[in-house]
Amino acid sequence: AVIDNLNKITKTLNYLAEWNMSTVNSTESRLTWLSILIIIIIAVISIAQVLLIQFL
């Protein structure tokens, strides 16, 4: 009986290296930066459009 299953458990727990976390963090930073980028692009495009039409 002497269970020593425990090794398997320890290995699996160690495997369950969750450190997923960095993917989630990367998603978050992407979300932030790409959103800011998109906002800037929206602003730039609309200003450019107005200037172009005025130029016409």
């Binding site: 269970i3 020593d4 727990l13 963090n25 979300l31 906002i39 929206i42 609309s46 107005v50 039409i53």
Partner: protein, 60 residues
């Protein structure tokens, strides 16, 4: 010398597995929505500004 098993199971690693920070997921979840809402607001504002500005311009 069950004692070895005891120290091994003392696995109880589980406490470390403090998952709680992995908060990150929920933050992303809410931000995913808010960022897009902000983008849409910016889009609407610029759209309004464009129309107003061009209207004034044409009159002038």
């Amino acid at each position: 010398a069950v004692n070895v098993l005891n120290s091994k199971i003392g696995i109880r690693e589980q406490k470390l597995m403090d998952e709680a920070t992995f908060d990150a997921s929920e933050a992303v979840n809410s931000r995913a929505m808010w960022w897009i809402v902000i983008q849409l607001i910016v889009l609407a504002v610029t759209c309004g500004w464009q129309m107003k500005h061009l209207g004034k311009f044409f009159v002038k």
